[in-house]
Protein backbone atom coordinates (compact mmCIF):
# COMPACT_ATOMS: atom_id res chain seq x y z
CA UNK A 1 0.00 0.00 0.00
CA UNK A 2 1.50 3.32 -0.99
CA UNK A 3 -0.03 6.74 -1.01
CA UNK A 4 -3.05 7.11 -3.29
CA UNK A 5 -1.95 7.78 -6.88
CA UNK A 6 -3.51 11.25 -6.94
CA UNK A 7 -1.50 12.39 -3.98
CA UNK A 8 1.67 10.98 -5.41
CA UNK A 9 1.19 12.84 -8.65
CA UNK A 10 0.48 16.12 -6.89
CA UNK A 11 3.67 15.74 -4.91
CA UNK A 12 5.65 15.37 -8.10
CA UNK A 13 4.04 18.59 -9.36
CA UNK A 14 5.70 20.61 -6.60
CA UNK A 15 8.52 22.95 -7.61
CA UNK A 16 11.13 24.46 -5.32
CA UNK A 17 10.64 28.23 -5.22
CA UNK A 18 12.78 29.14 -2.17
CA UNK A 19 15.50 27.09 -0.50
CA UNK A 20 15.95 26.88 3.26
CA UNK A 21 18.55 29.66 3.42
CA UNK A 22 16.28 32.03 1.52
CA UNK A 23 13.33 31.33 3.80
CA UNK A 24 15.46 31.70 6.92
CA UNK A 25 16.91 34.99 5.65
CA UNK A 26 13.40 36.22 4.80
CA UNK A 27 11.88 35.42 8.18
CA UNK A 28 14.85 36.71 10.19
CA UNK A 29 14.83 39.97 8.21
CA UNK A 30 11.05 40.18 8.59
CA UNK A 31 11.17 39.69 12.36
CA UNK A 32 13.96 42.26 12.65
CA UNK A 33 11.93 44.76 10.61
CA UNK A 34 8.79 44.15 12.70
CA UNK A 35 10.82 44.64 15.88
CA UNK A 36 12.21 47.88 14.46
CA UNK A 37 8.73 49.12 13.53
CA UNK A 38 7.36 48.28 16.99
CA UNK A 39 10.26 49.84 18.89
CA UNK A 40 10.31 52.76 16.45
CA UNK A 41 6.65 53.43 17.25
CA UNK A 42 7.57 53.41 20.94
CA UNK A 43 10.19 56.08 20.25
CA UNK A 44 8.06 58.26 17.93
CA UNK A 45 4.32 58.16 18.64
CA UNK A 46 3.45 60.04 21.86
CA UNK A 47 0.56 57.73 22.81
CA UNK A 48 2.79 54.66 22.46
CA UNK A 49 5.65 56.40 24.27
CA UNK A 50 3.28 57.13 27.17
CA UNK A 51 2.27 53.47 27.27
CA UNK A 52 5.71 51.89 26.89
CA UNK A 53 8.16 54.48 28.24
CA UNK A 54 11.62 53.11 29.14
CA UNK A 55 13.36 55.06 26.41
CA UNK A 56 16.85 53.85 27.30
CA UNK A 57 15.88 50.19 26.88
CA UNK A 58 13.68 50.70 23.81
CA UNK A 59 16.39 52.74 22.11
CA UNK A 60 19.03 50.08 22.82
CA UNK A 61 16.83 47.35 21.31
CA UNK A 62 16.04 49.53 18.29
CA UNK A 63 19.69 50.36 17.63
CA UNK A 64 21.02 46.82 18.19
CA UNK A 65 18.36 45.18 16.02
CA UNK A 66 18.87 47.90 13.42
CA UNK A 67 22.60 47.22 13.25
CA UNK A 68 21.86 43.48 13.00
CA UNK A 69 19.28 43.99 10.25
CA UNK A 70 21.57 43.33 7.26
CA UNK A 71 23.31 40.33 8.88
CA UNK A 72 20.86 37.58 7.77
CA UNK A 73 21.21 38.76 4.18
CA UNK A 74 24.98 39.21 4.33
CA UNK A 75 25.58 35.83 6.00
CA UNK A 76 23.20 34.12 3.58
CA UNK A 77 25.10 35.58 0.66
CA UNK A 78 28.56 34.96 2.08
CA UNK A 79 29.11 31.30 1.12
CA UNK A 80 28.21 28.46 -1.16
CA UNK A 81 24.92 28.09 0.73
CA UNK A 82 23.78 31.38 -0.83
CA UNK A 83 23.56 30.04 -4.39
CA UNK A 84 19.76 30.13 -4.54
CA UNK A 85 19.56 33.58 -2.98
CA UNK A 86 22.20 34.99 -5.31
CA UNK A 87 20.36 33.63 -8.34
CA UNK A 88 17.08 35.14 -7.11
CA UNK A 89 18.69 38.53 -6.44
CA UNK A 90 19.99 38.48 -10.03
CA UNK A 91 16.46 37.73 -11.23
CA UNK A 92 15.03 40.53 -9.07
CA UNK A 93 17.60 43.05 -10.31
CA UNK A 94 17.00 42.45 -14.02
CA UNK A 95 13.83 43.66 -15.61
CA UNK A 96 12.59 42.11 -18.84
CA UNK A 97 9.97 43.61 -21.18
CA UNK A 98 7.23 41.51 -19.56
CA UNK A 99 7.87 43.24 -16.22
CA UNK A 100 7.02 46.67 -17.62
CA UNK A 101 3.94 45.25 -19.30
CA UNK A 102 2.89 43.56 -16.04
CA UNK A 103 3.39 46.80 -14.13
CA UNK A 104 1.43 48.84 -16.67
CA UNK A 105 -1.50 46.43 -16.57
CA UNK A 106 -1.45 46.27 -12.77
CA UNK A 107 -1.42 50.06 -12.45
CA UNK A 108 -4.47 50.16 -14.75
CA UNK A 109 -6.09 47.34 -12.76
CA UNK A 110 -6.16 44.95 -15.70
CA UNK A 111 -5.53 41.19 -15.56
CA UNK A 112 -1.94 40.01 -15.93
CA UNK A 113 -2.58 36.32 -16.52
CA UNK A 114 -0.84 35.98 -19.89
CA UNK A 115 2.05 38.35 -19.35
CA UNK A 116 5.41 36.63 -19.85
CA UNK A 117 7.11 37.24 -16.48
CA UNK A 118 9.80 35.16 -14.85
CA UNK A 119 10.11 33.85 -11.29
CA UNK A 120 9.23 37.28 -9.86
CA UNK A 121 6.76 39.85 -11.16
CA UNK A 122 7.46 43.56 -11.21
CA UNK A 123 5.66 44.15 -7.91
CA UNK A 124 7.79 41.56 -6.16
CA UNK A 125 10.92 42.97 -7.76
CA UNK A 126 10.04 46.49 -6.66
CA UNK A 127 9.22 45.32 -3.14
CA UNK A 128 12.59 43.60 -2.82
CA UNK A 129 14.58 46.51 -4.29
CA UNK A 130 12.76 49.08 -2.15
CA UNK A 131 13.36 46.95 0.94
CA UNK A 132 17.06 46.85 0.12
CA UNK A 133 17.15 50.61 -0.43
CA UNK A 134 15.27 51.21 2.81
CA UNK A 135 17.77 49.08 4.72
CA UNK A 136 20.67 51.17 3.41
CA UNK A 137 19.00 54.54 4.02
CA UNK A 138 17.80 53.59 7.51
CA UNK A 139 21.22 52.21 8.47
CA UNK A 140 22.90 55.38 7.22
CA UNK A 141 20.51 57.89 8.81
CA UNK A 142 20.25 55.82 11.99
CA UNK A 143 24.02 55.79 12.30
CA UNK A 144 24.18 59.58 11.98
CA UNK A 145 21.62 59.84 14.80
CA UNK A 146 23.29 57.21 17.00
CA UNK A 147 26.84 58.56 16.61
CA UNK A 148 25.88 62.26 16.45
CA UNK A 149 29.18 63.94 17.21
CA UNK A 150 30.86 63.12 13.90
CA UNK A 151 28.37 65.16 11.84
CA UNK A 152 27.28 68.80 11.60
CA UNK A 153 24.08 69.51 13.51
CA UNK A 154 22.16 70.22 10.29
CA UNK A 155 23.06 66.74 8.96
CA UNK A 156 21.62 65.23 12.14
CA UNK A 157 18.42 67.18 11.61
CA UNK A 158 18.34 65.95 8.00
CA UNK A 159 19.07 62.37 9.09
CA UNK A 160 16.28 62.43 11.67
CA UNK A 161 13.90 63.83 9.06
CA UNK A 162 14.84 61.20 6.45
CA UNK A 163 14.70 58.39 9.02
CA UNK A 164 11.13 59.42 9.95
CA UNK A 165 9.98 59.90 6.33
CA UNK A 166 11.42 56.60 5.08
CA UNK A 167 10.09 54.73 8.14
CA UNK A 168 6.53 55.88 7.43
CA UNK A 169 6.95 55.09 3.72
CA UNK A 170 8.25 51.61 4.53
CA UNK A 171 5.42 50.85 6.96
CA UNK A 172 3.07 51.42 4.00
CA UNK A 173 5.21 49.09 1.85
CA UNK A 174 5.19 46.40 4.55
CA UNK A 175 1.41 46.63 4.92
CA UNK A 176 1.13 46.20 1.14
CA UNK A 177 3.55 43.25 1.20
CA UNK A 178 1.65 41.48 3.98
CA UNK A 179 -1.63 42.26 2.24
CA UNK A 180 -0.43 40.66 -1.00
CA UNK A 181 0.86 37.64 0.93
CA UNK A 182 -2.37 36.91 2.78
CA UNK A 183 -4.46 37.37 -0.38
CA UNK A 184 -2.18 34.98 -2.31
CA UNK A 185 -1.99 31.90 -0.04
CA UNK A 186 0.11 29.67 -2.36
CA UNK A 187 2.79 32.37 -2.59
CA UNK A 188 2.70 32.88 1.18
CA UNK A 189 2.80 29.12 1.80
CA UNK A 190 5.90 28.85 -0.37
CA UNK A 191 7.75 31.16 2.02
CA UNK A 192 7.14 28.49 4.69
CA UNK A 193 7.46 25.27 2.68
CA UNK A 194 9.61 26.47 -0.19
CA UNK A 195 7.26 24.79 -2.69
CA UNK A 196 4.78 25.94 -5.31
CA UNK A 197 2.74 23.85 -7.71
CA UNK A 198 3.51 23.54 -11.39
CA UNK A 199 0.07 24.98 -12.13
CA UNK A 200 0.82 28.03 -9.98
CA UNK A 201 4.13 28.56 -11.77
CA UNK A 202 2.47 28.26 -15.17
CA UNK A 203 0.03 30.99 -14.21
CA UNK A 204 2.24 33.36 -12.21
CA UNK A 205 5.79 32.69 -13.42
CA UNK A 206 5.57 31.20 -16.93
CA UNK A 207 9.13 32.04 -18.06
CA UNK A 208 10.55 30.54 -14.88
CA UNK A 209 8.64 27.32 -15.54
CA UNK A 210 9.89 27.34 -19.12
CA UNK A 211 13.47 27.61 -17.90
CA UNK A 212 12.95 24.82 -15.37
CA UNK A 213 11.55 22.54 -18.06
CA UNK A 214 14.11 23.26 -20.77
CA UNK A 215 17.11 23.88 -18.52
CA UNK A 216 19.03 27.15 -18.36
Amino acid sequence: MGPPPGKKRRKAEQLSRFDGIERLAHWLTASFFLTLIATGAALYIPAVIGFVGRRGLVERIHVDVGLALPLPLIISLAGTWGKGLRADIRRINRWIPGDRQWLRLTVHRQPTADVPVGKFNAGQKLNAAITGGVMLVMLMTGSVMHWPYYWPLSWRTGATFMHDVVAIFFVVVVIGHIGMAVTHPPALRSMFTGKVSRAWARRHAPLWLEDLETGP
Binding site: L43, Y44, I45, P46, I49, G50, V52, G53, R54, R55, G56, A87, I89, R90, R91, I92, N93, R94, W95, I96, P97, G98, D99, G118, K119, K125, L126, A128, A129, I130, G132, G133, V134, L136, V137, M140, T141, V144, M145, H146, P148, Y149, L153, S154, W155, R156, T157, G158, A159, T160, F161, M162, D164, V165, V166, I168, L207, W208, D211, P216
Partner: protein, 232 residues
Protein backbone atom coordinates in the same frame (compact mmCIF):
# COMPACT_ATOMS: atom_id res chain seq x y z
CA UNK B 1 26.29 34.85 -17.99
CA UNK B 2 23.17 34.84 -20.12
CA UNK B 3 19.99 36.09 -18.54
CA UNK B 4 18.12 33.02 -17.29
CA UNK B 5 14.78 34.44 -18.32
CA UNK B 6 15.47 35.78 -21.81
CA UNK B 7 14.61 39.20 -23.17
CA UNK B 8 16.69 42.34 -22.81
CA UNK B 9 17.26 42.77 -19.08
CA UNK B 10 17.74 46.16 -17.44
CA UNK B 11 19.21 46.38 -13.92
CA UNK B 12 16.19 48.23 -12.51
CA UNK B 13 16.62 46.72 -9.06
CA UNK B 14 20.10 48.14 -8.68
CA UNK B 15 18.91 51.53 -9.93
CA UNK B 16 16.12 51.58 -7.35
CA UNK B 17 18.52 50.73 -4.51
CA UNK B 18 21.18 53.23 -5.57
CA UNK B 19 18.56 55.89 -6.30
CA UNK B 20 17.11 55.54 -2.82
CA UNK B 21 20.60 55.70 -1.31
CA UNK B 22 21.22 58.91 -3.27
CA UNK B 23 17.97 60.43 -2.06
CA UNK B 24 18.89 59.38 1.46
CA UNK B 25 22.31 61.05 1.34
CA UNK B 26 20.78 64.20 -0.17
CA UNK B 27 18.15 64.14 2.56
CA UNK B 28 20.80 64.02 5.29
CA UNK B 29 22.73 66.95 3.81
CA UNK B 30 19.82 69.10 2.64
CA UNK B 31 16.91 67.80 4.75
CA UNK B 32 17.30 70.40 7.49
CA UNK B 33 15.81 73.35 5.54
CA UNK B 34 13.18 71.05 4.02
CA UNK B 35 12.02 69.87 7.42
CA UNK B 36 12.04 73.45 8.72
CA UNK B 37 9.84 74.50 5.80
CA UNK B 38 7.42 71.67 6.59
CA UNK B 39 7.44 72.79 10.20
CA UNK B 40 6.53 76.34 9.18
CA UNK B 41 3.70 75.14 6.94
CA UNK B 42 2.29 72.87 9.64
CA UNK B 43 2.81 75.36 12.47
CA UNK B 44 -0.88 76.37 12.66
CA UNK B 45 -1.82 72.69 13.01
CA UNK B 46 0.86 71.68 15.49
CA UNK B 47 0.47 74.75 17.74
CA UNK B 48 -0.69 73.56 21.11
CA UNK B 49 1.42 70.49 20.70
CA UNK B 50 -1.31 68.00 19.82
CA UNK B 51 -3.00 66.21 16.99
CA UNK B 52 -2.02 63.95 14.14
CA UNK B 53 -0.11 66.75 12.38
CA UNK B 54 2.55 66.52 15.07
CA UNK B 55 3.40 63.04 13.73
CA UNK B 56 4.39 64.40 10.32
CA UNK B 57 8.18 64.25 9.92
CA UNK B 58 9.61 67.74 10.09
CA UNK B 59 6.64 69.16 11.96
CA UNK B 60 7.72 71.19 14.96
CA UNK B 61 7.00 68.34 17.28
CA UNK B 62 8.65 67.36 20.51
CA UNK B 63 9.71 63.75 20.79
CA UNK B 64 8.39 63.06 24.27
CA UNK B 65 11.12 61.17 26.07
CA UNK B 66 10.58 59.18 29.23
CA UNK B 67 13.05 56.63 30.55
CA UNK B 68 10.58 54.97 32.94
CA UNK B 69 7.21 53.33 32.37
CA UNK B 70 4.91 56.07 31.04
CA UNK B 71 4.96 59.73 32.00
CA UNK B 72 5.44 60.04 35.77
CA UNK B 73 2.63 61.70 37.74
CA UNK B 74 3.73 64.50 40.07
CA UNK B 75 3.29 63.85 43.80
CA UNK B 76 0.28 65.81 45.13
CA UNK B 77 2.46 67.71 47.61
CA UNK B 78 5.12 68.57 45.02
CA UNK B 79 8.15 70.47 46.35
CA UNK B 80 11.42 71.32 44.63
CA UNK B 81 14.31 70.70 47.01
CA UNK B 82 17.65 72.52 46.92
CA UNK B 83 20.13 70.89 49.28
CA UNK B 84 23.73 69.74 49.65
CA UNK B 85 26.53 72.27 50.07
CA UNK B 86 24.21 75.20 50.87
CA UNK B 87 23.69 77.48 53.84
CA UNK B 88 19.88 77.44 53.62
CA UNK B 89 18.29 74.33 52.06
CA UNK B 90 15.14 75.22 50.12
CA UNK B 91 11.85 73.41 49.74
CA UNK B 92 9.75 75.22 47.17
CA UNK B 93 6.21 74.76 45.91
CA UNK B 94 5.28 75.85 42.39
CA UNK B 95 3.64 78.93 43.95
CA UNK B 96 6.93 79.76 45.69
CA UNK B 97 8.73 79.61 42.32
CA UNK B 98 6.03 81.75 40.66
CA UNK B 99 6.53 84.38 43.38
CA UNK B 100 10.22 84.73 42.46
CA UNK B 101 11.52 87.02 39.69
CA UNK B 102 10.44 85.42 36.41
CA UNK B 103 12.64 84.98 33.33
CA UNK B 104 10.95 84.54 29.96
CA UNK B 105 12.84 82.99 27.04
CA UNK B 106 11.89 82.26 23.43
CA UNK B 107 14.43 79.70 22.34
CA UNK B 108 14.55 76.41 20.44
CA UNK B 109 14.61 73.00 22.03
CA UNK B 110 17.46 71.16 20.28
CA UNK B 111 18.00 67.42 20.61
CA UNK B 112 21.51 66.04 20.14
CA UNK B 113 20.17 63.58 17.55
CA UNK B 114 18.99 66.44 15.38
CA UNK B 115 15.31 67.11 15.95
CA UNK B 116 14.52 70.65 16.97
CA UNK B 117 11.47 72.67 17.98
CA UNK B 118 11.97 76.36 17.15
CA UNK B 119 10.76 79.35 19.16
CA UNK B 120 9.56 77.58 22.28
CA UNK B 121 8.26 79.97 24.95
CA UNK B 122 9.66 79.29 28.41
CA UNK B 123 8.99 80.92 31.79
CA UNK B 124 10.84 80.14 34.98
CA UNK B 125 13.30 81.23 37.63
CA UNK B 126 16.97 81.60 36.84
CA UNK B 127 18.85 78.72 38.40
CA UNK B 128 21.45 81.22 39.59
CA UNK B 129 18.75 82.98 41.61
CA UNK B 130 17.91 79.76 43.46
CA UNK B 131 21.61 79.24 44.20
CA UNK B 132 21.80 82.78 45.61
CA UNK B 133 18.74 82.13 47.75
CA UNK B 134 20.25 78.93 49.14
CA UNK B 135 23.77 80.35 49.48
CA UNK B 136 26.66 78.11 48.44
CA UNK B 137 29.16 76.86 51.00
CA UNK B 138 32.83 76.09 50.47
CA UNK B 139 33.64 73.29 48.01
CA UNK B 140 30.48 73.77 45.94
CA UNK B 141 31.50 73.26 42.28
CA UNK B 142 28.64 71.39 40.63
CA UNK B 143 24.94 70.55 40.72
CA UNK B 144 23.35 67.12 40.69
CA UNK B 145 19.73 67.03 39.52
CA UNK B 146 17.30 64.21 40.17
CA UNK B 147 13.88 63.55 38.72
CA UNK B 148 10.89 62.21 40.60
CA UNK B 149 10.68 59.57 37.88
CA UNK B 150 13.27 57.87 40.11
CA UNK B 151 15.79 57.19 37.33
CA UNK B 152 16.84 60.26 35.36
CA UNK B 153 19.68 62.44 36.63
CA UNK B 154 21.63 65.37 35.23
CA UNK B 155 24.52 67.64 36.11
CA UNK B 156 25.87 71.13 35.55
CA UNK B 157 28.89 73.01 36.86
CA UNK B 158 28.12 76.04 39.04
CA UNK B 159 29.41 78.32 36.26
CA UNK B 160 27.09 76.72 33.70
CA UNK B 161 24.18 76.92 36.14
CA UNK B 162 24.71 80.66 36.57
CA UNK B 163 24.22 81.43 32.87
CA UNK B 164 21.23 83.77 32.49
CA UNK B 165 19.40 81.43 30.09
CA UNK B 166 19.44 78.42 32.42
CA UNK B 167 16.10 78.37 34.20
CA UNK B 168 13.94 76.22 36.41
CA UNK B 169 10.83 76.35 34.20
CA UNK B 170 7.22 76.10 35.36
CA UNK B 171 5.74 77.28 32.04
CA UNK B 172 6.44 76.26 28.45
CA UNK B 173 4.45 76.42 25.19
CA UNK B 174 2.18 79.08 26.68
CA UNK B 175 0.96 77.26 29.79
CA UNK B 176 2.05 75.30 32.83
CA UNK B 177 4.59 72.60 31.97
CA UNK B 178 2.45 69.55 31.20
CA UNK B 179 3.00 66.08 32.61
CA UNK B 180 4.39 64.84 29.25
CA UNK B 181 6.89 67.71 29.11
CA UNK B 182 8.14 67.13 32.65
CA UNK B 183 5.74 69.18 34.75
CA UNK B 184 5.13 70.70 37.12
CA UNK B 185 8.76 71.86 37.09
CA UNK B 186 11.64 71.06 34.75
CA UNK B 187 15.02 72.48 33.93
CA UNK B 188 15.66 74.36 30.69
CA UNK B 189 19.33 74.76 29.71
CA UNK B 190 19.07 76.90 26.57
CA UNK B 191 22.70 76.68 25.38
CA UNK B 192 22.88 72.88 25.67
CA UNK B 193 21.29 69.84 24.04
CA UNK B 194 17.88 68.78 25.30
CA UNK B 195 19.01 65.92 27.49
CA UNK B 196 20.47 68.47 29.94
CA UNK B 197 16.98 69.94 30.48
CA UNK B 198 15.85 67.32 32.99
CA UNK B 199 12.10 66.76 33.27
CA UNK B 200 10.02 66.08 36.42
CA UNK B 201 12.68 67.91 38.44
CA UNK B 202 12.55 67.12 42.16
CA UNK B 203 15.97 67.79 43.71
CA UNK B 204 18.90 70.09 43.02
CA UNK B 205 21.87 69.01 45.13
CA UNK B 206 24.93 71.22 45.35
CA UNK B 207 27.96 68.91 45.27
CA UNK B 208 31.74 69.05 44.97
CA UNK B 209 32.14 67.26 41.64
CA UNK B 210 30.26 66.70 38.39
CA UNK B 211 28.51 63.36 38.29
CA UNK B 212 27.51 62.38 34.70
CA UNK B 213 23.77 61.99 34.17
CA UNK B 214 21.51 59.36 32.61
CA UNK B 215 22.37 59.76 28.91
CA UNK B 216 25.94 60.78 29.67
CA UNK B 217 26.46 57.29 31.10
CA UNK B 218 25.47 56.12 27.60
CA UNK B 219 28.19 58.13 25.88
CA UNK B 220 26.78 61.62 25.48
CA UNK B 221 28.82 64.72 26.30
CA UNK B 222 28.68 66.05 29.88
CA UNK B 223 29.33 69.59 28.61
CA UNK B 224 26.62 69.50 25.96
CA UNK B 225 27.05 72.89 24.25
CA UNK B 226 24.86 72.97 21.16
CA UNK B 227 27.00 72.81 18.01
CA UNK B 228 30.25 72.85 19.92
CA UNK B 229 30.75 69.76 22.05
CA UNK B 230 32.22 66.82 20.21
CA UNK B 231 31.57 64.46 23.08
CA UNK B 232 34.76 62.58 22.46
Amino acid sequence: MADPEGGKPTPVGRRVVLGMLGVGVAGVIFGDPVSRAIGDVLAPLTAGDAGIASLVPGADNFQLYTVVSGYPAPPPDYRLTVDGLVKRPLSLSVADLEAMPATKLVHPFQCVTGWVVPDVHWTGVQLGHLLDEAGLTEGATALHFTSFDGVYTESLTIDQARLPNVIVAYQMLGGPVTREHGGPVRLYVAPMYGYKSIKWLSTISVVDHVEPGYWEDNGYAVDAWIGRSNGL
